[in-house]
């Protein structure tokens, strides 16, 4: 019972039936607020993430929970590291080197515990574009990738809704259309597993099941203001609480993002004015762990404007924009404050259009001035060429990006409790030059093939010299400077015809980092260096109401840190002066874990009933019960009376998990 509840804690049942639609990335798109949906012109660009209208319905996900970010993780060049880490790792970059945008403004990713819970609700944010390369000039501030999340605010009905009721959480979602084209979409989710765990812990005094609860609210609004103007607003708030060891170690974290945007669109031009706020807050307190109490808050305020204009015969567009961001970091460690702040001015120019025939180009320049604990001005050129003869798409792009923050992991893997830190005096911003070339083709009526090469060179990459967070830790001075590279090749094959959909992709990549203060200055493989990454997805709709989906994934093992030896030390805490074994950690990321692979299966049945629709998902996560290691613990084994050997034992967090989920829509 205890184990089942612990699994249930980690695996909530949350479901969504929202439709998700992709947005093409390589064409100029003008969407007026009168249109029912964005019209997609031009070819699919595999440099950006592809999520078709039914894409999310075609992949089985853990316990039936659909999530845009989880779908993006199935694309070539995108990886995840473990069940404990919710981050996306794009082309050998770290998960903190990505930025998500809504309505053109950056938002905080509302990470819940582990990577199992969904982050962005696709009912509200139904469209997404992942930029792995060929970044528009307006995007800068992250080294690896940008995700443009777009609210789903079509006026397809007066009121559309969903109600999900699960074992661990429930959700209510509504989209209402008002007069004049106003659309409001709201989603709220709340867990109640904590009631069960508290009850169980009260009954069993020996039990110490973690007490975890979460809730989030997402809302998007669009209000047309006449024939050319519109007003958009977005808000997202999430709150999580985790109490470990019967409440002796309470952890809390919250995220909040909000933005407003005024847009003006005509056939020739577009103008947008926007303002945004985002923030994260986390705190913890314990007397039983080495890390004692801390309180961390990060707040960002952003304001910007962008103007685009078609010129000539309309095949070219010029755009320009400017933005200012103020960031404040407030961190308290055991009563000691370590605050920081910065201002970041950004400006950009870009031009895109057709050069001749099937040859298109997009070029731009992003200029940033950082004013914090040090002043830096950075210039980031962008260039993308695309040749599209017939059904082919051949491209080459170059982009430089810069980043002014780094994430300090509080735990051994990325978590919502991580602390974001700005640059320190004497440490310039991290920069990355990326080159990508590729081609895709639509073969016949059903086939799509894609292949791409990428190379990324990082300068002044950032990491932290020490991961020990204790009463003696001073965050200032921990940030270190280094370099890195990532390169790889991606292949993607898709078949989509009638009831059958098949997609398979393979990524071969190589990523390393180097810091003078780590591993004595030798290169090392970071934990997100995934050498081989394979995904295969099969979906079949034998009838209108039925959908079967299979997803098989394979990933090379990630690098982790093992002790290089064991020392026998004197325990002076104990008046008996007993000896203790102390693991000796010297090198980071010195052991490669075994590869992981699994098969997920999902069967969906939808039954309409009057104005309602009931959808049942039944499936299995990790259908063949592959023992994918989630973490490792060393165990002492006695050998031959006099000897002891420390044996690393891999622990499996997610074995085979069957699930059943229900959703009611209207």
């Amino acid at each position: 019972m205890r184990y089942l509840l612990m699994l249930a804690l980690a695996l909530p049942l949350a479901r969504t039936q929202a439709q998700t639609q992709a947005q093409q990335a390589d064409s100029v798109i003008y969407a007026t607020h009168e249109a029912a949906e964005v019209q997609i012109a031009g070819r699919r660009s595999a440099a950006a993430g592809i999520a078709t209208r039914s894409a999310l319905e075609r992949i089985p996900t853990l316990l039936g929970e659909k999530d845009v970010m989880k779908y993006l993780a199935t694309l070539p060049g995108v990886a995840t590291t473990s069940a404990l880490d919710a981050g996306l790792y794009v082309r050998g970059g770290a998960s903190d080197e990505n930025t998500c945008f809504v309505n053109g403004s950056p938002v905080v990713s509302p990470e819940h515990l582990t990577g199992i819970l969904s982050t962005f609700d696709p009912f509200v944010l139904g469209r997404s574009v992942l930029y792995k390369s060929g970044f528009p000039a307006r995007y800068n501030g992250s080294l690896a990738a940008y995700v443009d999340l777009q609210p789903t605010l079509e006026r397809d009905s007066l009121c559309r809704g969903e109600a999900d009721l699960g074992l661990l959480s429930s959700a209510l979602r509504l989209r209402v259309s008002g007069r004049g084209g106003t659309v409001l979409a709201v989603s709220a989710r709340l867990s109640y597993l904590q009631l069960l765990t508290r009850l169980y812990n009260r009954i069993d005094e020996e039990s110490d099941i973690p007490d975890y609860s979460f809730g989030d609210v997402t809302a998007a609004l669009r209000v047309p203001l006449g024939p050319h103007w519109s007003f958009d607003a977005f808000g997202l708030y999430s709150a999580d609480r985790l109490r470990i060891d019967r409440g002796a170690f309470p952890l809390r974290w919250q995220t909040a993002s909000g933005n407003v945007r005024f847009s003006r669109r005509t056939g020739e031009s577009r103008l947008s004015l926007r303002a945004a706020f985002r923030g994260r807050h986390s705190e913890g307190d314990s007397e039983q762990q080495v890390t004692t109490d801390y309180d961390n808050a990060e707040r960002f305020a952003t304001a910007g404007a962008e103007y685009g204009h078609r010129i000539g015969t309309g095949s070219w567009e010029l755009s320009a924009g400017a933005e200012f961001e103020y960031a404040a970091f407030r961190t308290r460690f055991n009563g000691r404050r370590e605050d920081a702040e910065y201002g970041l001015w950004s400006g950009w120019l870009s031009a895109r259009g057709r050069i001749a025939g099937e040859l298109h180009a997009e070029g731009g320049l992003n200029l940033q001035h950082y004013d914090g604990d040090g002043r830096y001005t950075r210039c980031a050129p962008r260039l993308r060429l695309r040749y599209s003869p017939g059904r082919w798409n051949i491209w080459a792009d170059y982009a430089r990006t810069a980043q002014y923050t780094a994430v300090l992991s509080v735990m051994n893997s990325r978590s919502p409790l991580d602390i974001l830190r700005p640059l320190e005096a004497g440490l310039p911003p991290a920069e990355c030059d990326q080159i990508s070339v590729g081609a895709d083709v639509e073969a016949g009526r059903a086939w799509y093939l894609y292949a791409a090469l990428f190379y990324r060179k990082m300068y002044h990459a950032k990491d932290f010299g020490s991961r020990m967070l204790s009463a003696e830790t001073e965050l200032t001075g921990l940030l270190i400077d280094g370099s890195g590279e990532a390169r790889g090749v991606e292949f993607d094959l898709m078949y989509d015809r009638g009831p059958w959909y098949f997609r398979a992709n393979y990524t071969l990549s190589d990523s390393w980092r180097r810091f003078d203060a780590v591993n004595e200055g030798r290169r090392f493989r970071p934990p997100f260096d995934i050498r081989h990454n394979v995904k295969a997805n099969l979906s079949w709709k034998p009838a209108e109401r039925w959908t079967l989906a299979f997803m098989w994934s394979y990933q090379s093992g990630t690098y982790t840190t093992f002790p290089v030896g064991v020392a026998v030390a004197h325990d002076i805490h104990n008046p008996q002066n007993d000896p203790v074994f102390v693991p000796v950690y010297r090198e980071r990321y010195n052991f490669r874990m075994p590869a992981t692979h699994r098969l997920d299966v999902d069967v969906a049945y939808t039954r309409p009933w009057q104005r309602l629709a009931l959808t049942v998902h039944a499936g299995v996560y990790n259908a063949y019960n592959r023992a994918n290691a989630s973490y490792v613990q060393f165990r002492a084994e006695s050998r031959d009376t006099y000897y002891t050997r420390f044996v690393p034992r891999a622990r499996v967090l997610l074995p085979v998990i069957p699930y059943l989920s229900l959703s009611l829509t209207w």
Binding site: L4, L7, Q289, V290, M411, N412, S413, S466, R467, M468, A471, E472, T561, F562, P563, V564, G565, A567, V568, A569, I572, H573, P575, Q576, N577, D578, P579, F581, V582, P583, V584, Y585, R586, E587, N590, F591, M593, N622, N625, A627, A629, S630, V632, Q633, Y642, Y643, T644, F646, V647, P648, R649, A650, R651, V652, P655, V656, I657, P658, Y659, L660
Partner: protein, 271 residues
């Protein structure tokens, strides 16, 4: 139907549970080197342990046979002899018949030459004498009072790092053991540390006596103890990031430091 499905789901979950599996360790990297540990305690013999850190992928055994040339300077230089010394609970492989006199020097230095010629050196300051003012138990709570500035030389304000250990004895054995590593920021005392004594039901036996020890450490010794705790925690808890051991020894891992100690014993029951 729902009940059957629930039972089936639970059965499948239970059947799928993995107890884990052992990993094969290979090519774990460079030799970890030597480990040296020495605590210079006033009025106690100079004792030191020097070993080679056994690689993680090999059998662990305590090899005290390595021949180091070991010298300590505390006022004057003298050599530690290689043999096995046992103080009742811990084994050292180097010791001297001299007792540490903190009045003889302001600092203590270590000089060693390893069997392969590696030079090992360290030095340590001597912390002020730790002093407990009062220790009492009232209503199940132990209070240990002390003055952080006690015995400090005038004009000097060294960092105040302490270990408070509480040991309880009952039914002929140790039934309670707890300790606290902390740094005292209070300028001047009296300061109290409190500890809630667990109930007899939780201890499994009535307490006959409670021993309280207050140790005062150097900053290096304190950081070393923190890093040891962190390394041990990282091994137990997968969420704790692994961190290297802190130390003040050049040419080896470990610690060469000094601490002072004050001890009180409270008798709770008489025969």
């Amino acid at each position: 139907m729902v009940k059957r499905l629930t039972i089936l789901w639970a059965a499948l979950l239970a059947a799928g549970c993995h107890k884990g599996y052992d990993l094969d360790l290979r090519h774990m990297g460079a030799d970890a080197g030597y480990f040296v540990e020495c605590y210079c305690v006033p009025d106690e013999l100079f004792c030191l342990t020097a070993t080679r850190i056994a690689p993680i992928d090999q059998d662990q055994y305590l090899d005290y046979s390595l021949e180091f040339e070991t010298w300590i300077t505390a006022g004057e230089e003298f050599r530690l002899l290689h043999s096995l010394y046992h103080d009742g609970s811990y084994i050292y492989n180097y010791a001297s018949s001299r007792r540490f006199d903190p009045a003889a020097a302001d600092s203590v230095r270590l000089r060693m030459t390893a069997p392969d010629g590696t030079l090992i050196a360290a030095s340590t300051a001597i912390p002020p004498q730790a002093e407990l003012d009062d220790v009492r138990i009232e209503a199940g709570r132990l209070t240990a009072a002390y003055r952080p500035e006690a015995n400090e030389a005038e004009g000097r304000s060294p960092e105040r790092c302490f270990i408070l250990s509480v040991t309880g004895w009952g039914d002929g054995g140790r039934v309670l053991s707890d300790d606290r590593l902390f740094r005292e920021y209070t300028e001047s005392g009296p300061v109290s540390q409190h500890y809630d004594i667990p109930s007899e039901a939780r201890l499994g036996a009535p307490l006959d006596s409670v021993a309280v020890e207050l140790k005062r450490l150097t900053r290096e010794g304190y950081l070393y103890q923190l890093s040891v705790k962190e390394a041990q925690a990282a091994n137990r808890d997968p969420l704790i990031p692994p961190t290297p051991l802190h130390g003040n020894i050049r040419g080896a891992l470990g610690i060469f430091t000094s601490y002072t100690c004050d001890r009180r014993v409270l008798r709770l029951r008489t025969e």
